[in-house]
């Protein structure tokens, strides 16, 4: 898969504090890439660097194949929309004028798609009301609309659902899924609400202390965090045909280990094993969530440290 953003060994220091430590990352085209990390892990700094708001102390990155050291990076950024920390909207201007301003920033002269964008974020009826009088949720939606101006190829969204009510979160999710699905926009998104992120992301990177702990696809992650039972048996050869017959979803993890993903009682597993003539040594239930997975990763890192 083609990568739309490639980050190569980026480090960032503020004074003596090392905020990013040799970060490397590849963001596939068309993906929704979830950046997961605690406060101060370096998520925002990484996003600021990609959007050009901050310069890395060392390392480089490329967007759509154009290196950060290349002068053309400025024109590549025109195909990128972003919200960093909170929506940067001009509070003295109406929603329409904020979008028009962003179109002007992008060097565009046609403003025909503004009503469509306002409709998408449900701000069509705000009229002349200035953004300063908007609720937090409305400002957040306006920020998304600003980021979507000019049909960007890449969206960089730092905590876009912060401060939104449950309905606003659902709306935001639908908007992001729609632009990803219909316009094939690549989205780099960070959020504290991991459950929400898991409903969007196709890829994940876990970041802690300025270092990327792990990157993986949602399929890989789901296989690790979905509810399963790990059984250890005396042998797997004769047990697999029995599981196939019973249409049990399983995966062999070694000569004596099987992960079962079908919700099945332990007693049933033991009876099927008896039928196959194998001895069950142990059954362990794995019910890890994305949050739990992340916390375990961090704990492992801290344990190593």
């Amino acid at each position: 898969m083609e990568n739309v953003v490639s980050i190569n060994g980026i480090s960032k220091k503020y004074g003596k504090a090392l905020v990013l430590d040799n970060v490397s990352l590849e963001i596939p085209k068309g993906s929704i890439f979830g950046l997961v990390g605690r406060n101060g892990a370096g998520k925002t700094t990484l996003m600021r660097i990609i959007t050009g708001l901050s310069e890395p102390t060392s390392g480089s990155y490329s967007i759509s194949g154009v290196s950060s050291s290349n002068k053309n990076i400025l024109s590549v950024r025109r195909r990128m929309g972003s919200i960093i920390e909170s929506p940067a909207v001009f509070r003295n201007l109406s929603a329409y004028d904020n979008l028009k301003l962003q179109y002007i920033n992008l060097g565009m002269t046609s403003f025909d798609s503004i009503p469509e964008l306002l409709e998408l974020v449900e701000l069509k009826d705000t009229g002349r009301k200035t953004a300063g009088k908007f609720s937090l949720g409305m400002r957040q939606r306006l920020g998304i609309a600003v980021a979507l101006c000019g049909n960007p190829d890449i969206l960089i969204l730092d905590e876009p659902i912060n401060g939104l009510d449950p309905q606003g979160i659902i709306q935001m999710r639908e908007i992001l899924l729609k632009v990803n699905r219909e316009k094939h926009t690549t989205i780099l998104i960070s959020s504290h609400i991991l459950e929400e992120l898991s409903k969007l992301a196709t890829h994940y990177a876990f970041i802690e202390g300025g270092k990327i702990l792990q990157t993986l696809s949602s399929e890989e992650l789901m296989s690790k965090v979905r509810k399963s039972s790990r059984i250890k048996v005396s042998g797997t050869e004769s047990l697999c045909p029995v599981f196939d017959r019973e249409k049990i979803d399983y995966k062999l993890e070694g000569e004596d280990t099987i992960d079962i993903f079908t919700d099945i009682a332990a007693s049933k597993i033991v009876s099927l094993a008896n039928e196959a003539g194998v001895e069950v040594i142990s059954i362990n239930e794995n019910n890890e969530s994305l949050e739990g997975y992340f916390m375990n990763l961090v704990a492992r890192k801290e344990g190593l440290a």
Partner: protein, 277 residues
């Protein structure tokens, strides 16, 4: 640069900044006319009140050079300060607009706002001087045009400093406080320099009957090149111009020009290095 300029002009006309400039200009103009009129008419010549003449215009223009920077500070905060504090400047940077272009566009729009404000005021002064019943002699001569240019370059120097403050400090309130303190600072500085430029010894009469005098040492006195530099800078101050009525003194051009060059260079370095959060 075109994108940055279009963006700045759009904000100028769509936000209240444009209206703010117009209102401030009218208030400033009316205030200066009233203040100068009171002074000119109250001073009598041969027992009769003085007529409105070219010196009225000269005083008005000199006062404009003192007051219009206040309007500049307010405008700069409303225009550039808000852009930085609302973080909408980030939208421009992340869409690939060069930071230097953003700075220059803000500079151009602020200068245009001040020029507009100044032109409104100058027209008000001229119209008042030309059409009041007591006029005697009003003619746009080289002294008046020179003073207009001088006031303009002084305002430009202030704008350069205000913009530097906004971009360098990037905290709206602190930047406007510093901006508004500049004019009193120049006023204080002018009179501080006056003390330094006094003669090395002051004569004071110790005993009037015996006419015994004593020479007191001026502790602030400096000589040589430092004195020449201070003297030059002192005479560039608009407060000196107004106080001495030396409306033809041209030192302002060089000093204001140096301030513009230095603050613009620092501003461009600041905007390039600074990361706006």
């Amino acid at each position: 640069m075109k994108c940055a300029l279009n963006s700045a002009f759009f904000r100028f006309f769509r936000t209240k900044a444009f209206l703010l400039v117009l209102i401030i200009s009218l208030i400033i103009g009316a205030g200066i006319i009233f203040d100068t009129c009171t002074y000119v008419i109250s001073t009598s010549v041969f027992g009769r009140p003085r007529a409105i003449a070219n010196d009225f215009l000269a005083y008005c223009i000199a006062k404009l050079a003192v007051v219009i920077p206040v309007a500049g500070a307010v405008f700069c905060t409303a225009f550039t300060g808000s852009d930085i504090s609302y973080r909408s400047i980030n939208n421009k940077i992340s869409t690939g607009i060069n930071k230097v272009h953003i700075y220059l566009a803000d500079y151009i729009v602020t200068v245009i706002a001040l020029v507009m404000s100044s032109v409104i005021n100058l027209l008000m002064f001229y119209a008042f001087a030309k059409f009041v019943p007591q006029r005697s002699y009003i003619k746009i001569n080289s002294m008046i045009t020179g003073l207009v240019l001088k006031s303009f370059i002084i305002c430009l120097a202030y704008v350069s400093l205000y913009l530097l403050f906004q971009y360098f400090i990037s905290r709206k309130m602190l930047a406007i406080i510093m901006s508004l303190m500049l004019i009193p600072a120049v006023y204080m500085g002018t009179f501080l320099f006056e003390g330094i430029l006094e003669e090395p010894y002051r004569k004071s009469v110790k005993n009037e009957q015996t006419e015994q005098v004593e020479w007191e040492l001026n502790s602030k006195y400096v000589g040589g090149t430092t004195r020449e530099v201070i003297d030059y800078v002192y005479k560039s101050s608009i407060f000196y111009v107004m106080d001495s009525e030396d409306f033809t003194c041209d030192n302002s051009y060089a000093v204001a020009g140096s301030v513009i060059a230095l603050s613009s260079a620092l501003g461009l370095v600041a905007v390039n290095k600074k990361e706006y959060t």
